[in-house]
Amino acid sequence: MSDFKAIIAKRKRQDFLFNILGIICTLVGILTLGALLVDLFMDGATRLNWTFLTSFPSRFAERAGILSSWVGTLLIMLVTAFAAVPLGVSAGIYLEEYARRNWLTNLIEINIANLAGVPSIIYGLMALGLLVYQFRLGTNVLTGGLTLAFLILPIVIVATREALRTIPQGIREAAYALGSTKWQVVRHHLLPYSLGGTMTGIIIALSRAIGETAPLITIGALTFIAFLPPPPIQSQPPFISFQWLGSPFSVLPIQMFNWVSRPDQDFVVNAAGAGLVLIVVTLLLNAVAIMIRYRVRKRIKW
């Protein structure tokens, strides 16, 4: 009996030690992130006000704002989402539900997973060669958005496929057994039931794209821009204009990069302010993703 007690005590010590180790490892991650956020907030909060959000960049740090870059970020994200979501979701549905399993689809599958890991600057180079030089689309909101769409396309495809895979086969068989065509099964069952997972994947992908700098610099995004793209809604017919797609742009991370690289300390504070805006937007996007996932999980339990 006493042997048992000794062995139990020893094993409990091991348990305790790992417990402590685990806490330390977790704290390293959380505290670093926390310190970064607090530092950013301390620096940036002083600069964050209405004028900062509604002013163009300037030679004078105290007059400089992020109007053109947050509008740029917003428009770029719009193009990215409109390009990547239909392409990625359709490709994901095709690969998961329509394509026959053979060596070709296996090869495509492996390569899509690899594409998600390709460094983002490579996408920038590809977009520069293809969109800017080959198709002569110029460096504008359209090409910037498409570049980021290429970047997140594999993530959207993988997320769509993962979401479809969580739907039990029995649900598909039930729908087919009632006489549905493949498209009816996709349209009335698979798409709605996988919406939560797909949406979460899309939002996570967008929140990755929103912070991307390298590919946009590669295609030649501006670092200083003191005008806005033409508005998408006009007072004369046809009321909707796509002129803004051809407009030059800057985005928040590029603006930050530009300000950080200046010697003047006041500009570094501006960069912190812009960073704060960027991080708040990213966190909001992630919060939306979590909310969607939570609501869908409450509704659908397989």
């Binding site: 029995g170 068989e173 009632l178 006489g179 009816q184 009335h188 039931y193 509704r299």
Partner: protein, 290 residues
């Protein structure tokens, strides 16, 4: 094994408590043909072979299914009983490298339902299947039953009437009539399976195919579904695959015993369980293997 036996005992006693009107065992059923009352044939299976890739899962199956009767298919796991059932609504066609040989002639239309000229979609519109695990859609109770009807273009008042009629036939109406808009997932497992039966009935199929419909349910829910199956045969030809021999004995008019992809014996349920002609059948029924 002990647990299964115990379950069966419970099932049997619950069945007695439910006091379903028993068919008198003296009346001959689908067995010996009686003058002027030959059972109508619903489907004839002729020289049916079925392959998953190179593996032959069904070997030269020949049998008939009588209209408005319950036919049970029994046999040990992997004997091909579900494979045979799934030929009837061509659900195998969803998967690659599956192949049929032979014929399944559906009467009175004379359609060869596995013929290359027959569209699997048409067969799925004419057949209905209830699966092993309740697989209600994550939609409202109403939409679950309505889905098959909507695919067929039914709408408006007719849709509502047909949904109600199907839920009544599946003995579920009284339990759900006040919450048709609620999610089907709010129902219990047994209720969900009856919802799946209502969904299958709504499209007025020629045959109703049950693939081990009670294997995921508790004894009381099982009892309800079994008495439902016995009632349903008045309107539709029923085929039920089951691994539970007592269930086959309770609900079916004739029983087919399959082993290793072959049809060993098919006869009236009474004969099958009291006096099987094949030694293998007898051994399976008495629990010597399987």
């Amino acid at each position: 094994m002990i647990v299964t036996l115990f379950d069966r005992l419970i099932v049997m006693s619950t069945r007695e408590q439910l006091a379903r009107p028993q068919v008198s065992p003296e009346v001959p059923e689908a067995s010996g043909p009686r003058v002027g009352d030959a059972p109508e044939i619903k489907a004839e299976v002729e020289k049916l072979n079925f392959f998953y890739g190179k593996h032959q899962a069904l070997k030269n199956i020949n049998m008939v299914f009588h209209a408005n009767k319950v036919t049970a298919i029994i046999g040990p796991s992997g004997c091909g009983k579900s494979t045979l059932l799934r030929c009837f609504n061509r659900i195998h066609d969803l998967y690659p490298e599956t192949r049929y040989e032979g014929k399944i002639i559906l009467q009175p239309s004379g359609t060869n339902l596995i013929g290359p000229e027959t569209d699997p979609l048409e067969m799925r519109m004419r057949m209905s299947m209830v699966f092993q695990k309740p697989n209600a859609f994550p939609k409202s109770i109403f939409e679950n039953v309505a889905f098959g009807l909507r695919l067929r273009g039914t709408g408006g008042k007719e849709l509502h009437e047909q949904v109600e009629r199907s839920l009544r036939s599946a003995a579920l109406w009284e339990e759900v009539k006040d919450r048709l808009r609620e999610s089907a997932y709010a129902l219990s497992g047994g209720q969900q399976q009856r919802l799946c039966i209502a969904r299958a009935l709504a499209t007025e199929p020629e045959m109703l195919l049950f693939d081990e419909p009670t294997s995921a349910l508790d004894p009381i829910a099982t009892g309800k579904i079994e008495s439902l199956i016995s009632d349903l045969k008045r309107h539709v030809t029923v085929v039920i695959v089951t691994h539970n021999m007592q269930q086959a004995a309770r609900v079916s008019d004739s029983t087919a015993f399959m082993y290793l992809g072959e049809l060993v014996e098919v006869a009236s349920t009474k004969k099958m369980f009291e006096n099987p002609s094949n030694k293998l059948t007898e051994e399976y029924i008495t629990g010597h293997f399987g």
